[in-house]
């Protein structure tokens, strides 16, 4: 009998360290897309609250904890990321789809995180503008990405097939920023 061994697309590339920045892999047990049916937002929010203590966050926001984070992921779309799969009651109000292997979650942390990402995305990620709990589904080096600022740093979600290339781009930007920090005045 064959045994199927799970493989991460990026584990061999991480962590990357350059200057004061570190890029690490987050390995949430599950990523689940939750897309409410017509008019079901309120009921869905209540179901999530009862089951997981999470309410639907407004657009551009993420709610919850590292173990169970609910991220706004676009028009009428959310992603539950963390150590839990949604309660069965949720499926009554929303299309629920397992995307655990569809996305790779990375975290960029350390001073200079914003400088690194300024090389990759046009978004204004100044901590005063893009605060903790803010999230954006946006462009990162021509790729679709979800950026979320958490207490630990910037969580970067990339589609799995892009992830190896994406890590290389982020690493390149990290190395560039680190090298520039050491240049003479």
């Amino acid at each position: 009998m064959v045994e199927l061994i799970a493989k991460s697309p990026v584990a061999d590339l991480l962590p990357v360290e350059a200057g004061s920045c570190r890029l690490v892999a987050c390995a949430p047990a599950a990523i689940t897309a939750i897309a409410p049916y017509a008019g079901a937002e309120e009921a869905l929010s209540q179901a999530l609250d009862s089951a997981h203590g999470l309410a639907l966050p407004p657009a551009g926001r993420a709610a919850g904890t590292p173990g169970a984070r609910l991220i706004w992921a676009g028009y009428r779309q959310y992603m539950l990321v963390g150590e839990i799969a949604p309660d069965a009651a949720v499926a009554a109000h929303a299309a629920v789809t397992d995307l655990s292997d569809g996305w790779v979650v990375l975290r960029l942390e350390g001073a200079g995180t914003e400088s690194v990402l300024a090389r990759l995305t046009p978004l204004d990620l100044d901590p005063g503008v893009f605060k903790r709990g803010h999230t954006a589904r946006t462009e990162l080096a021509h790729m679709m990405a979800v950026l979320t600022r958490t207490g630990e740093g910037m969580e970067i979600m990339l589609m799995r097939s892009f992830a190896r290339w994406g890590v290389a781009r982020i690493a390149e930007a990290m190395e560039s920023v680190a090298a520039q920090a050491g240049l003479p005045d």
Partner: protein
């Protein structure tokens, strides 16, 4: 030579550099130009066209003459302005456009030939024969005229590109910019202060004057320190804002590493910034302009403001005996500052008879310079005035024709500057770029006091627009006045060439010639003479030239107008614009989970969209792709093959109205599909043409899984979202791409079931799992999905598992296939297999084909509406006039049929009007031992059996083909049901 005292240079930090192979000493704080002048080097370049000896004229980014090459080998950078290049230990600079050396340039013969080489010379002379222009004339001319040269090798230097955001972008850190930044920052705005110099301060570093009771440069230093300590201020030095774009976006070039000798590999030479600013303040200062007089281009003739900048900022006297020639009060500052530094002033020549200045040096009022002497450097000049003609010995001539505000950025959105007679210069038009506020000299406020006040005022305007409170006014005291000017453009009544554009070698005479030949609009004059078209974009020459043109036409300067200033303000390297896009950075690369295993088997990859897919899997002894491809096709037909099909788009569609949604999107019906079954579908665009095809599986009552082609996955997803949100918001349905979550493999061939039986727990015998079934399966304990679909025409399945298991499953499938005399197959074999079966890809679904063309008209359901249905019935989209899908076989087996080739009737000439159709796909079929092709032929379905000519005009191939039905192999489809 270096003065004994003063200057903003570090006398304790000596540096060594080389210019044209010769070693020199400089000091930290020097530019290449200041260091060369300190070493007595005046000759720094040769001119573009006539190879005239040239020296540095300016002390800034407007420099037309002192352009050098920095570095060597593949990282050589041409056309670097010596006035901006900071020196560092080991800097290597070489002069340009000369042979064999700067002092002895043989191409200076062009200067002797100058009477024949005026404006328009090329256009008139090299007219005939026409073909000679490209082959002979242009290469020869290009070699003789030019600036620096690229190495010809790939530039290995690193470049970077980045975004920045702010409330207020302040462009320029002179008095106006510093004041604007200070006020805006004190008002709480997020400020970016960008300055192209490595030392902020602008003219405050170049003048001897006080601001707020401090020497100007110290006030600048203190202000920068204050700003640097504020959290809401970012100071970007060595950063030139190069363009103003829509929506408050500005392009800026930061010269990150050009001042560093041993730049780390990872560090960029330059970074191109895109700065999004809610408001911007243009405090870019002003550029001094020369006066045209005969031989005003000799090394030693410089702008007056530059001469005193060298003396005050770098403690360098450009010469031992300096004459000054100007038409304004500002020029007198040069005489006073140089005299104070102990340099001998040979003469102060002012065109104004009533000039008010005084000084302890010879003064010539109402006089002009009528000529100069000195071959490789100035030795003397002729002055003519009321007192007659006088010869004056001098090694430096400082010239000032007044100052031009740096209006450039205000013109980047078609704004036209307006003439201000008080300063005899153009100033920015009101609100020329939305949100961009000119301040200081850039706005025509020419004194330091006025600049400070106007910088402060601009910042207050910006703060008000941003809804921020203005801080308490705190503008320091500074000098005011001393800007009187009487316009004077060129010395008349003299012989000899008077230069306007130093970089492109354009003289007053050239402008006259343009006018004489009726090129009288300023834009025509520019193009006829090439004035302002060099790398300096005419920063010194434009105004002077249009003043001459205005005299000739008799129209005043404001009516003559200016040429158009366009981005970039100063040159930007292509490397910086293309940063991040070199090599693999060019476009994202998507990898399947089987990538590593495929690479280990030696598969070359081809790009499909952004994906990399294995082309074929070579085996020992196979020397060409065809051998591998043929073997893989036979393998699938005879035993079993495994192919990664994860790249096909997979879209999860859920909701009570999911079936109704699919009925609306697809031309055929999906609401009748039973759970556990799969159906092939085509979807149309609104115009009735086929957008995409694929299979959709019904997983349960309210849930479908749609498959799209690899190429159209994004397009279809976008389309579905559009339908969902815009066309049918009444339907309760949600769509989601799950492409990346699943690894999916086709297992195809007579032994496909044998292979899978050993891997999945469920019963997949024909009775339990017939053709077009789907359902959940357990694969080695992992929950997966199985689909009995076939793109090869064989008994086939597609098996899907969560992507983390893709690598393991692919290896297991291939190992098992190999034990059954099969193996992995790639895109080449996949393509041949589907051509044999007449299955379609985007080669056929290329956007101009209708269901009728494809022989699928009956798939458009009559029982329901769908997107594009009405359009399919439009006249002209159905009938014998349409090019219809056909199969093509060569009459002589083995002859080539080439995709892209066109089809012509026998006996008809192979020209456009006789075109009958074209070939879309072709390949060699090892199964049928002949070339097979799909194509579109006018009224093709009625022409089966006919012989047609395939002509490939590009590759020069012609083949007689037999037209046949597009399904070549197993037309009954018995094998898929096996």
């Amino acid at each position: 030579m270096r003065l004994d005292t003063g200057g903003l240079i570090d006398r304790d930090a000596p540096l060594r550099f080389r210019f044209d192979g010769k070693g020199h000493a400089g000091l930290k704080g020097d530019t290449l130009a200041s260091a060369l002048l300190a070493n007595g080097v005046r000759l720094m370049g040769r001119s573009f066209k006539y190879h005239r000896p040239r020296g540095v004229m300016t002390a800034g980014s407007e420099e037309p003459n002192a352009l050098v090459q920095i570095g060597a080998g593949d990282q050589v950078a041409p056309n670097i302005r010596a006035t901006q290049q900071e020196i560092y230990d080991g800097l290597t600079a070489t002069s340009q456009n000369r042979w064999p050396s700067l002092r002895t340039d043989l191409l200076a013969v062009n200067d002797w030939l100058s009477p024949f080489l005026g404006a328009g010379f090329y256009y008139k002379t090299f007219m005939w024969p026409r073909s000679f222009w490209e082959k002979l004339y242009e290469p020869v001319i290009r070699r003789a005229a030019g600036l620096g040269a690229l190495s010809g090798a790939t530039d290995t230097a690193r470049y970077d590109k980045a975004f920045a955001h702010c409330d207020v972008l302040v462009i320029g850190a002179g008095p106006a910019g510093l004041m604007a930044a200070l006020t805006a920052a004190r008002g709480g705005a997020d400020v970016i202060l960008a300055d192209e110099d490595f030392r902020p301060g602008g003219r405050l570093n170049a003048e001897r004057e006080e601001v707020g009771g401090l020497p100007g440069h110290l006030w600048a230093e203190e202000t920068i320190r204050t700003l640097a300590e504020m959290d809401n201020v970012r100071i970007m030095r060595r950063t030139t804002v190069t363009g103003a774009y829509d929506g408050g976006t500005y392009g800026a070039l930061e010269r990150v590493g050009e001042h560093v000798g041993d730049l780390p590999d990872a560090a960029p030479v330059q970074t191109f910034w895109r700065i999004a600013a809610r408001r911007a303040i243009l405090a870019a200062g002003a550029t001094e302009r020369p006066i045209a007089f005969p031989d005003n281009d000799r090394p030693g003739v410089m702008l007056a403001g530059a001469v005193r900048a060298y003396a005050n900022r770098w403690a360098v006297a450009p010469g031992k005996r300096i004459a000054i020639f100007g038409n304004n009060d500002d020029a007198w500052r040069t005489a006073r500052d140089l005299a104070a530094a102990g340099v001998e002033i040979a003469a102060m020549i002012d065109t104004r008879a009533d000039a008010a200045g005084t000084g302890d040096f010879p003064v010539h009022r109402g006089a002009v310079v009528t000529g100069t002497r000195g071959r490789l450097g100035l030795t003397g000049l002729s002055v003519e005035g009321a007192g007659g003609r006088e010869e004056i010995a001098a090694d430096t001539l400082a010239v000032s024709g007044g100052w031009n505000p740096a209006v450039h950025l205000t013109c980047h959105m078609n704004g036209r500057p307006v003439w201000d007679a008080a300063i005899a210069a153009f100033v920015p038009a009101e609100n020329a770029v939305p949100g961009l506020l000119p301040a200081g000299a850039a706005a025509g406020r020419m004194t330091t006091a006025a600049a400070l006040a106007s910088g402060d005022a601009a910042a207050r305007t910006a703060l008000e627009a941003l809804g921020a409170a203005a801080p308490t006014p705190d503008v320091p005291q500074a000098e005011d006045g001393g800007t009187a000017i009487t316009p004077f453009w060129h010395v008349t009544g003299t012989r000899g060439r008077a230069w306007l554009d130093f970089q492109n070698d354009v003289t007053v005479k050239d402008v006259k010639l343009a006018h004489q030949e009726n090129f009288r609009s300023v834009e025509h004059m520019k193009r006829y003479t090439t004035l302002g078209m060099a790398t300096d974009q005419g920063k010194l020459s434009n105004i002077g030239a249009l003043a001459v043109l205005s005299e000739l036409t008799g129209r005043p300067i404001p009516e003559t107008g200016t040429t158009t200033f366009r981005p970039p303000y100063t040159p930007v390297r292509i490397g910086a614009l293309g940063a991040h896009a070199r090599g693999s950075g060019f476009a994202p690369q998507r990898y399947t989970t089987s990538h590593e295993a495929s690479r280990a088997r030696g598969a070359p990859f081809i790009e499909a969209g952004l994906w990399y897919r294995p082309s074929y899997f070579p085996r020992p002894g196979e020397t060409t792709w065809r051998e591998s491809c043929d073997r893989e096709v036979r393998m699938v037909r005879d035993s079993v093959g495994v192919a990664d099909v994860s790249t096909l788009g997979k879209i999860d569609i859920q909701g009570p109205d999911a079936a109704a949604f699919l009925d609306f999107v697809y031309a055929n019906t999906f609401s009748t599909l039973k759970p556990g079954r799969v159906r092939y579908g085509i979807m149309l665009r609104e115009d009735g043409h086929v957008m995409d095809d694929g299979t959709t599986a019904r997983l349960d009552d309210h849930r479908f899984l749609m498959t799209t082609t690899t190429a159209a996955a994004g397009q279809v997803m976008r389309h579905l979202e559009y339908v969902q949100q815009v066309l049918r918001p009444d339907l309760d349905v949600q769509t989601l791409s799950v492409t990346d979550h699943w690894a999916q493999f086709a297992v195809a061939g007579p032994k496909a079931r044998d292979l899978l039986d050993s891997l999945v727990d469920e019963d997949i015998a024909d009775a339990a799992f017939p053709f077009m079934s789907c359902g959940p399966v357990t694969v080695a304990g992992v929950a997966g999905r199985l689909f009995r679909i076939s793109f090869s025409g064989e008994l086939a399945y597609e098996i899907a598992v969560p992507a983390r298991y893709g690598d393991a499953l692919f290896r297991a499938l291939v190992t098992r296939a190999e034990s059954l005399e099969g193996g992995a197959y790639g895109m080449e074999a996949l393509n041949v297999l589907r051509i044999e079966k007449g299955f379609l890809t985007h080669a056929e679904l290329h956007g101009r084909t209708t269901p009728f063309d494809l022989g699928m008209a009956r798939m458009v359901s009559g029982a329901k509406d769908c997107i594009g249905k009405l359009a399919t019935t439009r006249p002209g989209l159905n009938g014998p006039e349409r090019e219809q899908l056909v199969g093509l076989k060569p009459v002589a087996a083995g002859a080539e049929i080439l995709p892209g080739a066109h089809l012509f009737s026998e006996g008809a000439e192979a020209v456009r009007v006789n075109d009958q159709g074209y070939v879309t796909s072709a390949g060699f079929s090892p199964t049928l031992n002949t070339t097979l092709a799909l194509g579109f032929l006018r009224d093709g379905r009625a022409r089966h059996g006919e012989t047609i000519r395939m002509v490939d005009h590009l590759r020069g191939v012609e083949t007689a083909c037999t037209v046949c039905p597009p399904v070549f192999f197993d037309p009954e489809g018995s094998r898929v049901r096996g």
